[in-house]
């Protein structure tokens, strides 16, 4: 890397640090949750290293913990949860188009909600920088890996996690992710519809298909209520 690239990388890392304060508790919680649902420490850390997707990891760990090691259901749920990345990838695509494919792929691997926000913010202020995006991605990836590891090590020393209220870590984590999303009438309606469908389906259907049904309800209600944008926002 030349001097400019090193400076960009450092700037990307520094810009990401404040957000990591919010990310690391999720990583620690995931490490503990992984053990709580019966994954081994190695499996838990491996998931953070390979998948690198908080919500999808929590949800699939929950499903595994419920005894549903159903390959297609877990993978399909992961796909559904991460579909939002399609939108983010699409908005970054014009900036990345001129890079070699392998470097595009590396940057795409590290694109999570937080690093996307950092990258798109940098694009708005100073234009796109590959080294800045790489710095943000690297910082977030290391933080996710190390905090998962910390959670796994912490979890090993807690003989009965449930007795410490840690079984509530997951709903609380999801609430912290969900509440900020409920910033409009549409999103409140989506949440309400998903809640009703999820509870009704959980009570009446076998298995845990209520997660998929609630996601479908959210897509339909959200798609119907979301006003058509007057013009496409330029990222």
């Amino acid at each position: 890397m030349n001097t400019t690239a090193i400076a960009g990388f450092r700037r990307g890392v520094l810009d990401t640090l404040p957000i990591l304060i919010g990310v690391m508790p999720f990583g620690v919680a995931f490490g503990i949750v992984g053990l709580t649902v019966g994954l081994t420490p190695l499996e838990t850390v491996l998931m953070s290293l390979l998948v690198f997707a908080g919500a999808a990891q929590f949800i699939s760990a929950t499903m595994l913990g419920m005894g549903m090691a159903d390959f297609s259901l877990i993978v399909f749920t992961t796909l559904l949860i991460n579909l939002r990345h399609l939108l983010m990838g699409a908005s970054l695509a014009p900036h990345l188009a001129r890079l070699p494919l392998a470097r595009q792929a590396l940057l795409a691997f590290g694109m999570v909600d937080e690093t996307y926000a950092i990258t798109i913010d940098r694009v708005a202020r100073h234009g796109y920088s590959e080294s800045h995006q790489l710095g943000a991605n690297t910082a977030a990836y290391l933080a996710w890996f190390l905090s998962t590891l910390a959670g796994v090590l912490l979890g090993e020393y807690i003989p009965d996690p449930l007795a410490w209220g840690l079984d509530f870590a997951m709903p609380a984590t999801f609430l912290a992710m969900l509440i900020p999303r409920l910033d409009s009438r549409t999103s409140l309606a989506v949440c309400l519809a998903a809640a009703v469908v999820a509870v009704a389906a959980a009570l009446s259907l076998p298995g845990k298909w209520y997660i998929i049904l609630a996601a479908l309800a959210a897509t339909i209600v959200g798609g119907l209520l979301e006003p058509s944008p007057e013009k496409e926002a330029k990222a």
Partner: protein
């Protein structure tokens, strides 16, 4: 490590990567169609809701909307904290403290 779990993890990694890289390839010239973004926008909200609400109101598999349900109470407290503070660590801390307090008293 169990083979079936590792296979699931690898498959999760593959589909996650495809969601991050797929559109980048497909829409590198045109940008994402507005209709698609409109329909997919609320999927995360739906899935998060589906994981939270049954965990809070069906802690033992049947509907429990009473004050004796500590998950529901702690969930409401955590939601209020999340709304006020917007802080994930604070939300989790207060939520878990509430659960502990309710268990201690019952």
């Amino acid at each position: 490590m169990r083979t079936d779990i590792v296979v699931i993890i690898i498959a999760m990694a593959v589909v996650t990567f495809l969601t991050r890289f797929g559109a980048q390839l497909a829409f590198r010239r045109t940008g994402i169609p507005a209709w698609l973004s409109r329909w997919l926008k609320h999927v995360p909200t739906g899935i998060l809701t589906a994981l939270i609400v049954p965990a809070l109101v069906l802690p033992r598999g049947s509907l429990d909307l009473t004050w004796h349900n500590p998950y529901l109470l702690a969930g409401l407290v955590a939601a209020a904290v999340a709304r006020r503070s917007g802080s994930a660590p604070l939300t989790m801390g207060v939520g878990m403290a509430t659960i502990l307090l309710l268990r201690f008293h019952t």
